[in-house]
Amino acid sequence: MSPTNPMNRRKDRIDDLAATSGGTATLVREAGTVDEKPGVSLIASAWKRLRRNPVFLIGAGITLLFVVLALVSRVIAPHDPAVGYLIDQVRPQSNPVPGPQPGFPLGADDAGRDLLSRLIVGSQQTLIVGVFATLFGLAGGMVLGILAGAFGGWVDALVMRIVDVLLSIPSLLLAFSIAALAARPSQLTVIIAVAAVQVPIFARLLRGSMLAQRHSDHVLAARALGVTERAVVFRHMLPNALGPVIVQSTLVLATSIIDAAALSFLGLGNPNDRQPEWGQMLGKAQTYIYDYPHLAVYPALCIIVVALGFTLMGESLREALDPKSRR
């Protein structure tokens, strides 16, 4: 065969190719690795999987029930939670806690107030503590995080150092310390104490994920394509940085309710119990816990179920929003 034979030329070429090994030959396209449909955003694909995740559905179901209960509690509670209907049955020495009786299926507390009504109406204040503690924590964290992120340099260093120091105090201990500052403890001081603990956590989280976004390939690509800074921040950085914040918020809803109970237990909670709250009810029940454990068990069960609901929701959200698990 002559060297001009096309067939032979091709063979020679392969041999040459083999000598230099690969390189250009790797141009044979790596096809078929992309099976994700284009245009499906992180949120949309997360939702698609969440809709069928039983863990998420249980968590979301509990949360929804809890919120609805809190909203309609005043209407469906059989009695006024602040009125001591059974006060004449209360004998501080012999019978401090009236038992179940017609019209009062769970009995009353040590002030003769209907326990069931207090549990039902308690959902309201519990929700308020959870939501506001989370919102305050988030707001504080955002201020610090954006301050650090926006100014950078020594402001960033200083803010983050302070955040690190706050994080170096065990969180519940910090909540106790802040609650102890209150001259007149109230629901608000409880919320502030519980929220303050979350501020450094949210600050770190926000700054960290914004920073990670700033250096990520898709933000660099958007910049390189000439997308305006505003659009980069709002369309590319914030939505992707928001995922961890949403997840953390759901988890904080749970911990703040539990932490509020711990504050009440130590006598740092809201002393005014005309408006019942589960953590407060549980904290105060310690006085009678060995003789009338049901006073503690009912609010504790409520807290556990609701905290579990928030946690289940948060954990399944975390899983769904984590791009690593999108296999």
Partner: protein, 338 residues
């Protein structure tokens, strides 16, 4: 080292196949999803000392084939059918402990990404000696000089120091050499290399390939080379199997296949390689991707991307037809029917 090691290289191709894969079929079954057949009736032979290539784009089933032979597919979520006879035993029917005894001793494997394939918290030396400890029942102390010799043989300079190094302290090429040393530690009769050069720099790729070539010739180890890179195949393989959509579409000796490709897919792969002397032939990529595939059950999977489809291609399943040393699965081959 096995007896084949002493066989002269000119006479390496024995008649009895060392590994004989017949009708290998791997189906992935995940809850709530359609079962997906990644490997669909693949058959091929590897003779002692021979180097056989499995070539195709990612997703064609070449890696799954090798993992199935090695028994390394996840325990759940897949179904493996067919046979893979190695030295008279069907590997696919072996219990997990019997397979464990053979892996690393009779059959070894090299993977694509040398960094992620090495344990980051264990010194490289120990990752070599542990194979000898396991299969040769040696003490670590006795295995260490052997490990050093192995590192030296795969071209790692200063092997004494490198034994104590961790993978992150080595370069990419050196890591791949270390992986090769681990695979060859017990002088296996069959080595499966899954894209061993893809993650490496071009210059390092050439070095690793020539090292592999040298080692298999020296020791008489049979080699199954899995790659998407035709350059690798051209330099190394005696026989080449081209896979598409989980089935072999063409088989032939290296020179026959590259000199006279008959399947349009093989032809397309060759035409998409840039050439320096290409004043006439423009670079022609294969259009589309694996996601355009038709099901093999009622058509030729490659038909939508084919440069010369005929009506029958979308109506019937083409069969793999053997003629001599070659095999072809096509209704309208390049260069017309024979």
């Amino acid at each position: 080292m096995t007896a084949t090691a002493t066989t002269p290289s000119t006479n390496r191709h024995g008649d009895e196949p060392l590994l004989s894969v017949r009708d290998l079929r791997v189906t992935f079954t995940r809850q709530g999803e359609e079962p997906f057949t990644a490997v669909d009736g693949v058959s091929f032979d590897v003779r002692p000392g021979q180097t056989v290539g499995l070539v195709g784009e990612s997703g064609c089933g070449k890696s799954v084939t090798s993992l199935a032979i090695m028994g390394l597919l996840p325990r759940r979520g897949n179904r493996v059918e067919g046979t893979a006879t190695f030295d008279g035993t069907d590997l696919l029917r072996l219990g997990s402990s019997e397979m464990r005894d053979r892996r690393g001793r009779d059959i070894a494997m090299i993977f694509q990404d040398p960094l992620s394939s090495l344990n980051p918290v264990v010194p490289v030396g120990l990752q070599v000696t542990e194979v000898l400890e396991r299969h040769r029942k040696m003490s670590r102390k006795a295995a260490t000089p052997l490990a050093r010799d192995l590192l030296k043989r795969v071209g790692i300079p200063d092997p004494d120091r490198r034994l104590k190094d961790y993978p992150h302290q080595m370069s990419g090429g050196m890591r791949q050499r270390a992986l090769i040393a681990m695979a060859l530690a017990c002088a296996p009769r069959l080595l499966i290399a899954d894209e061993p050069t893809t993650a490496l720099d071009v210059t390092i790729q050439a070095q690793i390939l020539s090292l592999l070539k040298e080692l298999v010739q020296e020791t008489g180890t049979a080699l199954v080379m899995i790659t998407h890179d035709l350059g690798v195949v051209a330099g190394l393989c005696d026989e080449v199997n081209v896979l598409y959509g989980g089935r072999i579409v063409e088989r032939g000796g290296r020179h026959e296949l590259f000199g006279q490709p008959r399947h349009p897919y093989t032809n397309g792969l060759l035409a998409s390689i840039p050439r320096l002397d290409a004043e006439r032939a423009p670079l022609t990529p294969i259009p589309g991707s694996v996601s355009d595939n038709l099901p093999w059950t009622s058509a030729c999977a490659f038909a939508p991307r084919c440069s010369q489809p005929v009506d029958v291609c979308t109506q019937r399943t083409p069969q793999l037809e053997e003629s001599g040393s070659r095999a072809l699965r096509c209704f309208n081959p390049v260069g017309g029917p024979r």
